[in-house]
Symmetry: C2
Subunit: 187 residues, 2 copies
């Protein structure tokens, strides 16, 4: 039954995993990619770190253990959705290489294509943007454990795509993601 | 941006929450409803208790606390998906009224329609079906904490729909769910 259901939906599931510093532009890119996919008639769903923190992962804190569990749940949710033919776009700091490689493995075991996209905006630009005031709160001593400042961020060693949103427009970023999906046979 | 995305997808999110004993037929009904929705061109996603246990909730056990957390995560996942215009069909024992009313509240706060469907197959029929051998393992003393046997199941007080799968076909059950969704203005 599962097969015929998926056959009814002209869509191959996959995961586009956006990693990067706070304020790098992950959510903005994710929503724009989702819109492009919807406009192409594809099923697409954004899994956003901030939203997860308010809902599914509201029981978790910011210790390394809890951050790893946060990434695990995002990955499990992505696998679950991809299995149903949905392209998931994950916007999640996911600071550590090991967390992201675990996410990749989870997808691999399920036969789901997984593309790691590094939203590589430099921290100086992220600090200037600061839409949520995180860097400001950190500077004032009111926030600890901010990734990129007093908490580590490990850039991807070998990302499938790099999006420096300080030197490219959102539209160019979307085009690059869509081109990657085409090249990978997802679209 | 979110609004225009959803407008591009001709679908209103909602949750169809199937509760009932083990082997009551929840997953079977859920997959058949999903197929019917897909065939109608609607976005639909099944959130299945057994699959959650293997993935998103693999860190949880079967204490009352863990069962409640299991239901909470399923509800959060359903809300998240429904917000993106997807109709979610949740197949989850969710044995306690309080768990299900919490799930309903989470949806209500997000403005997502929530329909509680009691898959009311009597335990005698569930024990005969026993596709996963749970009741058999219980009878042999190899399983403890089986809902409906040595763990409680609280039937819904006021379900939106009752599906006695011992006296109705899957096709009739699907028709009943689709009629409910039409009546509620979801379809």
């Amino acid at each position: 039954m599962q097969t015929s259901q998926l056959a009814a939906i002209p869509n191959k599931g996959a995961a586009v995993w956006l990693t990067g510093l706070p304020a790098a532009g992950k959510t903005t890119v994710a929503l724009a990619v989702q819109e492009a996919l919807h406009n192409s008639g594809r099923l697409a769903c954004v899994i956003d770190g901030d939203e997860l923190r308010r809902g599914l992962c509201s029981d978790l804190g910011f210790t390394e253990k809890d951050r790893t569990e946060n990434v695990r749940r995002a990955a499990e949710m992505a696998v679950y959705l991809s299995k149903q033919g949905i392209i998931t776009i994950i916007a999640l700091i996911s600071p550590m290489r090991l967390q992201r490689s675990s996410a990749r493995s989870l997808h691999g075991e399920a036969g789901i294509p997984f593309m790691e996209v590094w939203v590589s905006t430099p921290i100086e630009v992220c600090r200037q943007r600061d839409p949520k005031g995180l860097y400001n709160r950190y500077n004032q001593g009111n926030l600890h454990g901010l990734t990129g400042m007093d908490d580590p961020y490990e850039p991807p060693d070998c990302p499938d795509l790099v999006l420096p949103t300080d030197t490219m427009t959102i539209s160019e970023a979307v085009d690059a993601v869509m081109a990657m999906l085409h090249k990978s046979g997802i679209l």
